[in-house]
Symmetry: C2
Subunit: 123 residues, 2 copies
């Protein structure tokens, strides 16, 4: 049986629009993750920032969070099936999907690493 999103989603590291790139880089390293969700004061999803975007800041000299974050975020709902996630990740060439409820409130995250682990011997 293919699991539902809410069965395998994980906690997500978050930040707000005031954080600078140095703070974000430390959050990524300290939490050993590649993805940070940008949220407002009501936990609504505003954007996503990844280690790829921090790398882009080095490659292009951009300095501000709003310059490097992705605003148009591909997301999934908790009650969707995980094969839908695998299809979305492949279609958009991305490695994580924030999980939101119907009012766009952040609930968790699904990564390609987590989906890949379902295929492992111990999965």
């Amino acid at each position: 049986r293919i699991p539902f999103v809410n069965e395998i989603m994980e906690n997500v590291v978050t930040c707000n629009l005031n954080d600078n790139i140095d703070v974000l880089a430390k959050k990524i390293i300290d939490n050993n993750v590649n993805h940070i969700a940008v949220i407002d004061d009501n936990d609504k999803l505003l954007g996503i920032i990844t280690s790829f975007d921090i790398t882009k800041a080095i490659a292009t000299g951009k300095k501000g969070l709003e310059e490097i974050m992705t605003r148009n975020v591909i997301t999934v709902y908790p009650e969707e099936s995980v094969d839908i996630c695998a299809t979305k990740l492949e279609k958009y060439n991305i490695s994580a999907l924030p999980v939101v409820d119907r009012s766009n409130k952040l609930k968790g995250i699904i990564t390609s690493e987590k989906i890949s682990s379902l295929l492992g011997r111990i999965g």
Copy 2:
């Protein structure tokens, strides 16, 4: 049937020990990938650098390639089964496995994104 590594491995972006972090950041962005394999003049694998490591350079102020690259690389062979990859990725909390032959020559790369796509509807 679970595929073998050589059936789904992809081309990998490479660099050598002389490249600096700015050059690596541009390679990551221009190729739209998160992983770069560090090789010698005979295509032997020396290390791996990811967008996570570039982010680490920002968080710690480290400047040299050899300071941020990972030398002790977890790899797989072309004839291994893909479920072995999924298990190794999960065990070491990493998102890619360089594929090498028995003399440690680089052949390709397997990412958690590629394995995840096997689970998708179009997989």
